[in-house]
Every structure is written in C-alpha cells, then in structure tokens.
C-alpha cells in the first residue's frame, strides 16, 4: 500500500496546490515541498528497515509488492513492486525533487499553481515508472512524464523554449511509440504461446524468443530508452531541452528522467531479452564509447554554461550504456551507482548555473570570471561537484565509474580502454566551468554578486553530503540493491538453459560458449 501512497501523495499534492494557488500563490510550493518530504521520509523508512538485506534474498529481493485489478479483459493490472533498485531510484527522485522545488523557489514568474502541478505530476510519472510491474501501467507512467515536462519547457523556459519543447516532445514520443509496439508484440506473443494474454512483468519474462524476432522486439525498447537517456545518435533534443528548460525542469530531465531510461535497460531490456541483448553487446558498447567521447568533445566546444553541462551529461550517459552491455555484476552495480551519483552531481551543476544566472542574468561563460572573489562558498561547492563529475575518488561518481569500467574490462578490453579515455577528456571540459566562471580574469562586466542565501546553502549542502557519503560509504546503495541484481542474473542463467531456446536460436556449442563467457564475467 505504501507504494500507492507514495504516488497519491504526489498527485494529490499537485492538484491541491493548483486549486489553492488562487488563494495565495505561495501555497503550491509549500504543498510540493511537504508532499516530497513526506515521500522521502516514507522511502527512507523502507530503506532503513531493509538495510540489512538478510531477509530480502528470501523474498526474491522484493521489498514491497501490491496488485489491483485494472482492465481484466486486457490482462492488465495495477501492479507495483519495489526492490532495491527501485527503492534507491525513488529515494533519489524525492530527494532531487526537493532540490528542484527549492531551487526554483523564487523564480516562477507566472502561474505558480500550474507549475507546481506539472512538477508534481512529472515526479509522480517518474516514480510510477520506477515502481510499475505491469507493462501497460509502465507505459502509462512513461507517457505521463512526457506532458508535464513539455509544458514546463514551453511555458517557463528560456528564450528558445518553444523549439526546445517541441523537439523534446517529438523525439521522446516517437521513441515511446516504438516501445509500445514492442510491448504489444510481447503481449501477443505470450498470448499466442500460452493462451494467457497478460501485461504482467513476471509472466512476460522468458517470452521473447532469440533470433531476429527477439532482436526487433528488443529494438523497440532500446530505441525508447536510447532516446530518453539519450545516447548517440538520438541525443539531438538534449542540448536544447536541457538548456531552455527552467532550472527545476533541467534538474528533473537530466537527473531523473534520463535515469528512467537507464532503469528501463536494467529492468526490462536485459531480463526480457537476454539473448538478443547479448548479441547486441558489442554494438551497444560501441554506442556507449562513442557517446562518452563525442559528448566530451561537444561539451568542450560550448560557451553556454548550461549547454556545456548538458553535453557533459550526455557523455556520462555513455558510461551507463557501457555498463549495461558489459553483462557483469560489477558493471551492473556501477550502473545503479552512476544513476544516483550522476543524478546528484548533474542536478547540483544545473542548480549552480541557476544561482549564477540569478545574479548575472547570463549563461555565457565568456561574460564570467573570477566569481570566487564574491562567492567563495558557491565556488567551493562547484569544486566538489565538478570533481565528482570528473570522477574524483572519495565522491560518488568515482565508485560508479570504477565499477563500470572494471566490469567492462572483463568483457571487452579494447572498448573499455576507450571508455576509460573518457576520464581524461572529462577533465578538459569540467575544468573550463570551474576556471572560466570562478577563476581566471575578471568578468568584462562588473557584477554585484550576493553571497549565498540560507535556501541555497540547504540545497548545496544537502547534495554535497549525499555525494560525499556515497563516495565513502557506497555500500549503503550497493548492499540494498544486491538481491535485485542477483535476481537479474538468475533470470539470465535460467534463460540460457531452457531447451527450446537452444533449438530456436543457438546450436548447443554457441550456448556453451556464451555461458562460459558469462561464468568468466560473473565470477566477481
């Protein structure tokens, strides 16, 4: 029940804020804040309760699970479930939701009520995606994310917001439709094979055949997730959407919405299509590596602060693709860790860009410089987040990138070395933010930069604590997610030995070779 409560609190909070905004325009933001804090407390309770994870393995890794009837004629139910992965991701959603609300505390110039309604429903959509275990329900939440985000960009965005909003909408919508086709394909395939037409996640596991059909069914999911992530070659909407969105929008789209795609890869693509995913491993790794390097290259060339961060985010998403297609316990843990770490660091960087924009009304880095003089504290925080994003040990991102790359090395040496080059190039563009904005020569224009306000301290301090904590105690995430990953692994192994699968796609020898490599990789 708690899972439904999490969603309802957000949705009702959004509606309530909208309705009451006519009474006082400050009400919506307080309602949003309270709703998100309540949710965060609830999830934190679950986290602490299950931190030992001893009893989790017994339940197959599932912490909470709830199912209602929805559309029986379609075989679709309202089925929510939470394992370690979804627990971590929902906690991140609420935490960064609070940061997003606080960072746009003062800057919403029109229709606060509707703005906060959109934020809350957007967060509800994301939470729903992390919790759904019914494909129809999943698709429903996947689409719910889209519309509020579109409004946030086109109504409250910067100068070029209309273009960015439409571009975002078209790309993600087309990707979503591809996924719908694949979901329906799985649905009918399962119904045809077994006679039971159902959208249930667990029932559909093991439905997909290998070979061409399995590959094309997977491709639908892959396209949707690759667009949302985004990765090469579907990233073209990203710089515009990230840059033009208002700060809360940038934070949510970069830190949370992209993670729904990463989550989808782990939750659906790998378990549904183990064979097809493995056959796609090398192209997948190449896409990931290309995204890392190309994103870094694009990032270095930018002079707009937000665009630079946007491309750096694109580059980091490449690591997630590399991790997912490394089929390795280290890399999978690394992917989850990176989802959290990147979410925190990229959100913080976008929020800093907003704090700077607040004071200077510009995003052009050429017009900045030596801001440390007047804002040493913000500069100090920037050092932390820049260092986190370039993978300094002791901060969260390092653990993630290390695990992904160490895992990838065991799968494919050459590509993992190329991906590791990302660690070098990330220095070049990250340093530019820090040095161009906070160090180096004075800005051509004199700005009066106020020191940080208490609200800004809370946001920055909170994220810093989280990043440092995860850098030194990543076990708090890794431990709780471990049973869930064990699950994914057993699913894969079970698929490998089912006899009908061998006949359909692989000769016996090939299967042996595949499972051998997996054993090698899975040793750790």
């Amino acid at each position: 029940m708690i899972l439904v409560a999490l969603l309802l609190i957000l949705m009702i909070g959004g509606l309530l804020g909208w309705l009451l905004s006519s009474v006082n325009k400050n009400i919506p933001k307080w309602i949003s804040l309270i709703a998100l804090c309540t949710d965060l407390v609830l999830v934190a309770g679950l986290w602490i309760e299950n931190a030992g994870n001893v009893n989790l393995s017994g339940k197959g890794g599932w912490i909470a699970d709830v199912q209602f009837e929805w559309i029986p004629s379609f075989g679709s139910t309202i089925h929510f479930g939470m394992d370690g992965i979804s627990l971590v991701m929902t906690a991140l959603t609420f935490f960064l939701g609070i940061a997003a609300v606080l960072s746009s505390w003062k800057n919403v110039e029109k229709s606060e009520g509707f703005y906060h309604f959109n934020i809350m429903w957007l967060l509800a959509g994301i939470t729903g995606v992390f919790l759904s275990l019914d494909m129809m329900l999943f698709y429903f939440f996947w689409e719910i994310m889209l519309v509020p985000m579109f409004f946030i960009i086109t109504i409250w965005g910067h100068e070029n917001r209309k273009y960015a909003g439409w571009k975002f909408f078209l790309f993600t919508q087309i990707g979503g439709l591809m996924m719908l086709l694949s979901i329906l394909g799985l649905y009918f395939l399962h119904g045809y094979n077994t006679g039971a037409y159902t959208f249930d996640y667990f029932q559909l596991l093991g439905t997909a055949p290998g070979g061409a059909l399995g590959f094309w069914l997977m491709a639908g999911f892959l396209i949707a997730f690759f667009v949302k992530l985004p990765t090469i070659p579907f990233h073209s909407w990203l710089p515009d959407a990230y840059t033009e969105a208002p700060v809360a929008g940038s934070v949510i789209v970069a830190a949370l919405m992209s993670k729904t795609a990463a989550y989808g890869l782990l939750r659906f693509v790998i378990p549904f299509f183990p064979e097809a995913a493995r056959s796609f491993a090398i192209p997948g790794l190449i896409i990931g590596v290309a995204a890392i390097l190309y994103g870094a290259k694009m990032s270095y060339g930018q002079r707009n602060y937000k665009r630079l961060i946007a491309f750096s985010s694109f580059s980091h998403m490449g690591f997630i693709v590399v991790g997912v297609f490394s089929f390795n316990a280290l890399a999978y843990q690394g992917v989850l860790m990176l989802m959290v770490a990147h979410g925190l660091s990229i959100a913080a960087l976008f929020i800093i860009s907003e704090f700077v924009y607040d004071r200077t009304r510009t995003m052009d880095m050429q017009a900045m410089g030596s801001f440390w003089d007047q804002m040493p504290n913000l500069g100090g925080y920037t050092v932390v987040f820049i260092m986190s994003s370039l993978g300094l040990p002791g901060l969260a991102n390092f653990v993630a990138e290390f695990l992904i790359l160490a895992g990838a090395w065991q799968f494919n040496t050459v590509l993992s070395v190329l991906a590791t080059m990302g660690l070098i190039v990330s220095v070049t563009y990250s340093m530019r933010i820090l040095q161009k904005v906070f160090h180096q020569s004075k800005a051509p224009v004199e700005y009066k930069l106020n020191p940080m306000s208490p609200r800004e301290w809370v946001v920055m301090g909170g994220i810093t604590i989280a990043i440092v904590w995860l850098g030194f105690f990543p076990q708090s995430v890794i431990g709780i997610a471990q049973p869930a990953f064990d699950n994914i692994k057993t699913i894969q192994v079970a698929e490998k030995i089912s006899p009908q699968m061998q006949k359909q796609t692989y000769t016996l020898n090939q299967v042996k070779a595949v499972s051998k490599t997996e054993q090698k990789g899975g040793d750790l």
């Binding site: 040990p393 160490a406 080059m421």
Partner: protein, 630 residues
C-alpha cells in the same frame, strides 16, 4: 591510534573550509599548522614503538570500514603500517609541518589565508592516505586527492592581476597531465581486478609470483600501466612537462609538492609494488632507463633557466630520476633513502628561495638578484647547505651519501650497467654546476634589487632545522667502505628486498666515489669561474652562437612545443569543428525536408482547373503504362 595521523589534517581541512573565513586570522595557522604538527608527533610516537618491534615482514593494520563489497571484490578502508609507510609518513608529517609553519608567516598578508591552509591540510591528508593505504583503490583515492590539491594550490592566485590566465593554465596543465598517468594506472587496476579479484596490495603481492610467470604478458602490461601512473605523478619522461609550470603557486606549495608530497608518490608506488616489477624485469629495466633519461634531461634544462624556482623544478625532475634509476636496478632502499634526504634539502631550497622572492617583491629572475649574502645571512647559509646537499659535495653533506649509493648500485647491481652510471655521473656533475650557478647568481656579486623584508622566526626555524638535516641526515646510512653503517637500509629491508650486487664489479666503490666527489667540486669551481669571475665568454655564447641551444634547454627540451603540435592543437581543432553537432543537423534536415514537401504539395493545390486536369491525365497515363508493361 594510527587513524589519527591522517584524520588530524582532515579535521583541519574541514574546520578551515567551513569556518575559515569567519574565525580570527590568528587562529588559522594554529589549526592549519598545529594539527599537522600533532600528526608529526604522533608519527614519532608510533614510530618509536614500531622500531622496537620491527622484524622482517612485520606490519600492522587498522581496519576502519569496508568501502564496498560485491561478490569477492571488497576494497577496504584499512591503514597499513610498515617500515616503508612509516618512512613516508614521517617525511610527510614532519617536513609538511615545517612547511606549514613557514607558510604561517609567508602567507600572512594574503587574502586567501584560510583557504591556503585548508588546501594544504587536505594535501597532507591525501598524501598520508596514499602511503598508508593497504588497498590499491584506497591508494588511488589519495593519489587523485593529491592531484586535486595540487591543482587548487598551483592555481591558488586565481585572480592575480598579471598572471591570472597563466596560473589557471598551469593548474589545468598539471591536473590534466597527471590525470593521463592516473588513467593508465586505473586501467592497470582493472587488469589486477580481473586477474586477482582483489586490489589488496598484500594479497596481490603474495599471489603474483605464483600466478604470473616471469615477463608474462599480464605482468608486463600491469607494471607498465602502473609505471604510467608513477611517471605522471613523479614528473618523469614523457609526462614531466607539468612540473616546471607548477611554479605558478606560492613557494610553500612548491616545497610541499616537491618535497613532502605529490612527486614522490610515484616512487612510493613503485617501491610498494616492487614484487610485480621483479616478475617483469624487462619493465624494471624500462624504469631504470626512464629514470636515467629524465635525470639527464632535467639537469641539462636546469642549467639554462633564469627563474630560480624553475631551476629547482628541473632539479626535482632530475633527482626523482635518480630515485627511479635506483628502483630500476633493484636498489629500493637507496631510492627511499634519497627520497628522505631529497625531501629535506629540496624543501629547504624552495623555502629559502621563497624567502628571497618575498624579500625582492616577487622577483623570480636570478639575473636580477645578487649580493644577498650579507643582507640575509640565515637564508644564505641554509640555502648553501641545501645546495651543497643537492650537488652532493663529498663527505660533509647528506646528499653525497644518498646519491652516491644510487650511482654505485647503478653500476654494480646485477640489474645495473656502466651506461646508466656514466649518464648519471655526467648529470651529477651538471647538478653541481647548475646548483652553484644559482647560489652565485643569487647571493654573490653585486646587489641588483634591494631586499625589503626581514624573515621572522616562523620562516627561520624551518630553514635552520632543514639546513642541519641536509648536512647530517646522511650519517644514518654509510657506504660499506666507510664503516658499513646501514641503520636505514636495515630498517627498510624488513619490507623491501636488499639489492643484489654483482659478485665482482669492474671497479671498486672507492674509485667511483672519488670520481663523483671530484666532479661535484669541479662543477662548483666552473660555476664560480663562469658566473662570478669571468661572465663575459658565457654571456657571448648565450646570446651568440649558443642562443638556439640555450632556448632549447630553457624550454625544457621543447617538450611542450612537441606536445602542443602533436596533441593539443589537433584536439582543440577537433573540438572547434562541428560545434553545432552534425547529428542535430541531420534531424534538422528531416524537418526541413518535410517543410519542403509541404510547400511543394501546397503549391500544387492552386485552384486552376487545367492543372488538375493535367495532373489527372499524367496520372492515368502512368498507371495505364504500368498496367500494360507489367
């Protein structure tokens, strides 16, 4: 109690970072330097206890917590203390404390007083973590932390009126170049994870000899990659170019980077993982060759510098080269011995140079100094002691004993060779030449700039302590023909193996020592001759026929230009082309195509009946033709 040693500077950093700007200025050095001082005292207390128990293979560990654990792979936060770690910890805390003490006065009037001490404390913490780690991943944490702090400190004067861009460039360069080495190193760690399933140093070192065969592919690759990391941090060929530029930071920072922390990290890593290098002797030979090449290149370049700090920078590159050479020929304890002595005299030289620079209104050019001998006697005498140690003036200086040991082992060890010895002795001669060139230009001759500042006690005390150590510290380890007193190597040999000598080397140790000693003295004499007595011929050479050579050496063998041409320019060019992202254009193109089609079709709907009829006719014709033909 061991955990307190790194924890104290960390606490100092946190206090200064959070409350540094709001606390009274006087409290800043009390916390910044005081906590490092307590850590140094603690090291000595723990060290005395440790020396009593030190037997071969003895160590103790303190488990703090497990970093993370996935399957078999569970890197820990565990501190490891043995004779090697203890030596490094002692130097870091003790020399580090003296540098902190000196900075209390040196940085007194700087706006970023508390920021400076915060960074310095974080620097000390990272370096301590590096040498106390029992796991390569934890070592890597310290390793990168050191890089971050050096970046922050080199670019410390970020808003300098004249040099803001230059400082930022130097900071960026140091971080980027060491990061290249670090990336090689972390790839090496991936390899170790795959082969051993752990990064625990002790486990790897015990398992490696049984798992890897001599010069096997994995052993060679792993050691080469780790060597890459060591070259980056220790400024060895081909990643040495960041160090001379790192002089942009305040002088105590240079002392910190060159003596107590940072550049010696590579030496530590190689000594710590020496077992792997024993399995890959061909890579160990590469270490020796890199060390020898670097020490030669560094000492030549030092000869052509005008900036007093750049002379010292190139001399560091060259001295670390000696340490690499020692490790390359298997003389680990000699390398560590030279590290200790080098830390004393190099910290001293930088601190004294800093005092000179401060007194002369931030003048770095030696040719604008001179005659300071009388005006700043304490600085002069201590600087002279340090220079004597650097040039290894025989018998009376510590540098003689440490460097001579390395050169002897380069010659007489089973892994050594006459060639290595010849190059290193030439470089030793050049060392005394450039060192005393610096001494004479700065402290002798006529006075060119008036000193405006008298150093106080906080500056003098560190100078005197380090000056005395530069002379007498060498007596803890004497060559065997001088009474064979081997306190230091006995202490270290509980962790590191002793060097294996050739059964009957071609020349006696005494002959080599005499050669080295005489060459060092000749170097001093030549420096006197060329820079004080008769400067004209050299001046003519410098501005006449030798100007090309001079410029070549002045720019450090033009490595910067080479890298600029090979890497920087192409990469910057690459980042500039296609700034608008061609992928975006493709999608934009699809959009335009749709609009064009829309325009084309809307044109056809023009309301003219004969156009419609024409369209119908053509359509019918095409369809009919198709039906008939097919």
């Amino acid at each position: 109690m061991l955990w307190l040693i790194p924890a104290l500077p960390l606490v100092g950093f946190l206090i200064l970072a959070l409350f540094g700007t709001s606390m009274p200025r006087k409290m800043v050095p009390v916390i910044g330097a005081g906590l490092v001082g307590i850590a140094a005292l603690l090291t000595i207390i723990i060290g005395i206890d440790f020396i009593g128990k030190n037997t071969p293979g003895y160590f103790f560990e303190q488990h703090l917590w497990t970093w993370f654990s996935i399957g078999k792979f569970h890197p820990e936060m565990t501190l490891h203390f043995d004779s090697l770690s203890m030596t490094f910890t002692f130097v870091i805390t003790f020399v580090g404390f003296l540098i902190h003490l000196y900075s209390a006065e040196f940085m007194k009037d700087d706006a970023g007083y508390s920021r400076f001490f915060a960074y310095m404390n974080l620097f000390t913490f990272s370096m301590l973590l590096l040498v106390l780690a029992n796991d390569l991943l934890l070592l890597y944490l310290g390793w990168e932390g050191v890089g971050l702090c050096s970046f922050l400190l080199i670019g410390f004067w970020y808003n300098d009126k004249k040099d803001a861009e230059k400082n930022a460039y130097a900071a960026r360069k140091s971080f980027l170049i060491t990061r290249i080495g670090d990336t090689a190193m972390i790839i090496g760690l991936f390899l170790l994870v795959k082969d051993f399933g752990t990064l625990n140093i002790r486990e790897i070192l015990t398992e490696a000899p049984s798992q890897w065969t001599t010069n096997s592919y994995e052993a060679v690759l792993a050691t080469l990659l780790l060597l890459g990391g060591a070259c980056g941090k220790s400024a060895q060929l081909p990643l040495q170019t960041w160090l001379p530029d790192a002089m942009a930071g305040p002088s105590p920072v240079s002392a910190m980077i060159h003596a107590a922390t940072m550049v010696t990290a590579g030496v530590y890593l190689l000594a710590r993982t020496h077992v792997l290098y024993e399995i890959a002797p061909s890579v160990q030979l590469i270490v020796a060759i890199i060390g020898t090449a670097t020490l030669f290149i560094g000492s030549c370049a030092a000869l052509a510098q005008n900036d007093i700090k750049r002379v010292l920078a190139y001399s560091t590159i060259s001295q670390i080269g000696y340490m690499f050479l020692a490790i390359g020929v298997g003389a680990y304890s000699a390398a560590i011995f030279h590290f200790v002595i080098h830390a004393f005299f190099k910290a001293l030289l930088f601190l004294a140079a800093g005092a000179v620079i401060l007194a002369l209104h931030h003048e770095h050019n030696m040719f604008k100094m001179g005659g300071l001998r009388k005006k700043m006697p304490v600085v002069f005498w201590t600087f002279l002691f340090g220079s004597a140690a650097l040039s290894s003036i025989p018998l009376i200086t510590a540098g003689f004993y440490s460097k001579d040991a390395i050169m002897w082992f380069a010659f007489a060890s089973v892994k050594g060779s006459t060639w290595l010895w010849i190059v290193s002795i030439i470089a030793a001669f050049l060392t005394s030449l450039y060192t005393f060139r610096m001494v004479f230009l700065t402290f002798f001759g006529e006075e060119k700039t008036k000193p405006s500042y008298k150093p106080g006690a906080a500056i003098k005390i560190p100078l005197v302590v380090l000056g005395i150590l530069s002379l007498i510290a060498g007596f803890i380890e004497l060559p065997h023909n001088f009474g064979h007193f081997t306190l230091f190597s006995d202490f270290l040999n509980t962790t590191l193996p002793a060097v294996v000598l050739l059964p009957n080397p071609a020349a006696g140790e005494f002959a080599l020592q005499a050669t080295a000693g005489i060459l060092a003295l000749i170097g001093v004499y030549l420096a006197w001759q060329f820079y004080i007595k008769k400067p004209q011929p050299l001046q003519q050479f410098k501005y006449g026929s030798g100007s090309g050579l001079f410029r070549f050496l002045n720019e450090g063998w033009m490595f910067d230009r080479l890298y600029d041409f090979l890497f920087v320019k192409p990469l910057v060019w690459l980042s500039k082309i296609d700034e608008r992202d061609f992928v975006d254009r493709i999608y934009g193109g699809i959009g335009h195509l749709n609009l064009m089609m829309n325009a084309a079709f809307s044109k056809s709907q023009n309301g003219k009946l004969r156009h419609y009829l024409l369209g119908l006719g053509i359509g019918a014709f095409i369809i009919l033709t198709l039906i008939l033909v097919l």
